[in-house]
């Protein structure tokens, strides 16, 4: 797949700032434009990641951010694919660039989230599985995270301490990240003394909901060269895959899996298929990866990703974690940003933020959380209702 260049990246720090999501997106966009040394007027396409909790301006995020920066007549699109929205927005921008419709695109997502559980919007909707799972079962998002954690315990002998060690590791990374909401080191004992949310997962192991914003300025390789940028971070592969029927692993927001009574399960499950597509586009594999940013909605889910990204064989994630290889300084550091554990999730910004972190890492600009010599990075993320998301970047 033809590559595009990441010219600039920007973020608004994660937190609970109580401001309009537009402020966070504009802050991130201006930082990305400054980083790219590109004038706003030169951006030909604005690709917004939609937030559903911020009313109508959030549904048309692309034009909301464009208006806040000053309408220039640039073309625009807004993408929604739940937690994967940011990478969908990036993929739309890549399509515009590679088709020749524009030279430079701004990809931006931002969110303002309420405290507590994410929940469906109001009203009775018995034909909506997202509504049914809350109403009839009380199955919050952490319930699904915990089902997967318990399954790891039953299949692979994972322990509560393994899960807590993920949180501890990521917190040691997040301490060095000025954009993290919780730049604080937590130990296994801190995790163990936090309240259970959904057994076996405790409060410190469940991703919070946060405000935040992230943005990328991306362009064609030719345009980068025209600016004198000869060695940019490049987007080499993007995955926005859906599952392949039958998807046999229960996941939110569904009440049931597909059935494998009529068709055998695919060779590769949904989560395993997500990065595989991005690797294939980049003509790279897990053995090439120096650093990964994965969606640790819970501590235990990070362990699943190790295997789903091919960083270790199935059932060996706990051993990989305990070897120290996924910590900064190890063989394949995972979540050097601190991950969702240190950020909390700002839904439309989060998948973009993963790419921001990898850009800083590949440029050697990550300060005390730098992964030395990183040349290839991969992100992994998943959005509600069957949205895979993964990006392979290299330099």
């Amino acid at each position: 797949m033809e590559e595009i260049a990441v010219l600039g990246v920007g973020m608004h720090p994660w937190g609970k700032w109580g401001r309009n999501f537009v402020d966070y997106g504009v802050h991130a966009a201006q930082q990305a434009l400054d980083d790219a040394e590109v004038a706003w007027g030169d951006v030909g396409f604005v690709s917004g990641a939609v937030t559903v909790r911020c009313g109508y301006p959030g549904y048309v995020a692309g034009s909301t951010f464009a208006r806040a920066l000053g309408f220039t007549g640039a073309q625009v699109a807004s993408s929604y694919s739940a937690c994967a929205s940011g990478v969908t927005a990036l993929s739309v921008a890549r399509g515009q660039i590679l088709s020749g419709a524009c030279d430079v695109a701004l990809v931006v997502g931002a969110d303002t989230t309420p405290k507590g559980f994410l929940a469906p919007t109001g009203g009775d909707r018995p034909d909506d599985t997202d509504w049914l799972r809350f109403h009839l079962v009380g199955a919050t998002n952490p319930v699904y995270f915990a089902l997967h954690a318990r399954r790891r315990m039953a299949l692979y002998g994972a322990t509560r301490e393994d899960f807590a060690l993920v949180k501890a590791k990521n917190s040691r990374h997040g301490v060095h990240n000025p954009n993290a909401r919780y730049p604080k080191e937590y130990g296994v004992d801190d995790v163990a003394s936090s309240p259970v949310v959904s057994d076996p997962l405790r409060l410190l192991e469940i991703c919070a909901t946060s405000d935040g914003g992230a943005a990328l300025v991306v362009c064609s390789m030719d345009y980068a060269r025209s600016l004198g940028v000869t060695d940019p971070v490049r987007v080499s592969g993007i995955s926005t895959v859906t599952p392949t029927y039958p998807d046999t692993v229960i996941d939110l927001p569904y009440l049931a899996t597909d059935s494998w009574a009529g068709s055998p399960p695919p060779d590769r499950g949904f989560k395993e298929s997500i990065a595989a597509r991005a690797y294939a586009e980049a003509d790279l594999g897990p053995e090439d990866v120096d650093v990964a940013e994965v969606y640790d909605l819970s501590s235990a889910l990070e362990l699943d990703w190790y295997e789903q990204l091919g960083l270790c064989p199935v059932g060996e994630a706990e051993a990989l974690l305990r070897s120290g290889d996924t910590e900064i300084g190890g063989r394949i550091p995972v979540n050097p940003s601190g991950g969702l554990g240190a950020f909390g999730e700002a839904v439309p910004a989060q998948a973009i933020a993963q790419v921001c972190e990898l850009a800083w890492q590949l440029r050697g600009q990550a300060g005390h959380r730098q992964v030395e010599g990183a040349r290839v990075g991969v992100t992994a993320n998943q959005g509600l209702f069957g949205h895979g998301s993964s990006v392979v970047v290299r330099r």
Partner: protein, 149 residues
């Protein structure tokens, strides 16, 4: 169905998902050409070999084995209907042998996560989700079998 001594009318919290008899079943779908199943009947995904194939109504097996389980220590937000005092909901994902699928549900009251193991056999039951002056609103639940407490 459990005898509650209540004179309230017992009605499903949502119509069309399960039967109300003494040995209740979930109402699912079967894709006739594909051979696959789905639950709920009209909310399943299609088999891409037979796109657009309509699911036929079928009663699903009443027994299965626990694929995984957990609880919700904090009260879930609406549209969950909170009954005070909140008793932590225990949730099981249950694999049905014939239909080859996994279905979520609450575990019947009185059980905690400490009582359960992956692989335990369970059977479908009905339980009261919430009530008003005249009605008890029911949902399906998984009742552990052959488990020592």
């Amino acid at each position: 169905m459990a005898v509650t001594g209540s004179t309230k009318q017992r009605v499903p919290a949502v119509e069309g998902l399960f039967t109300l008899d003494d040995e209740p079943h979930l109402i699912g779908g079967r894709l006739p050409a594909s051979g696959g199943y789905c639950f709920p009947l009209h909310l399943g995904g299609a088999d891409p070999r037979h796109p657009g194939e309509a699911a036929e109504e079928v009663l699903l097996s009443r027994r299965g084995r626990i694929w995984s389980f957990t609880n919700s220590a904090y009260p879930p937000p609406p549209p969950f209907v909170l009954t005070e005092p909140y008793q932590p909901v225990v949730v099981a994902a249950v694999e049905l042998e014939v239909e080859k699928m996994v279905i979520l549900g609450q575990v019947t009251p009185g059980w905690t996560v400490d009582d359960l193991r992956v692989g335990d056999q369970v059977e479908l039951a009905l339980g009261v989700l919430y009530e008003d002056d005249d009605h008890e609103y029911l949902t399906w639940q998984w009742r552990p079998l052959d488990v020592e407490r």
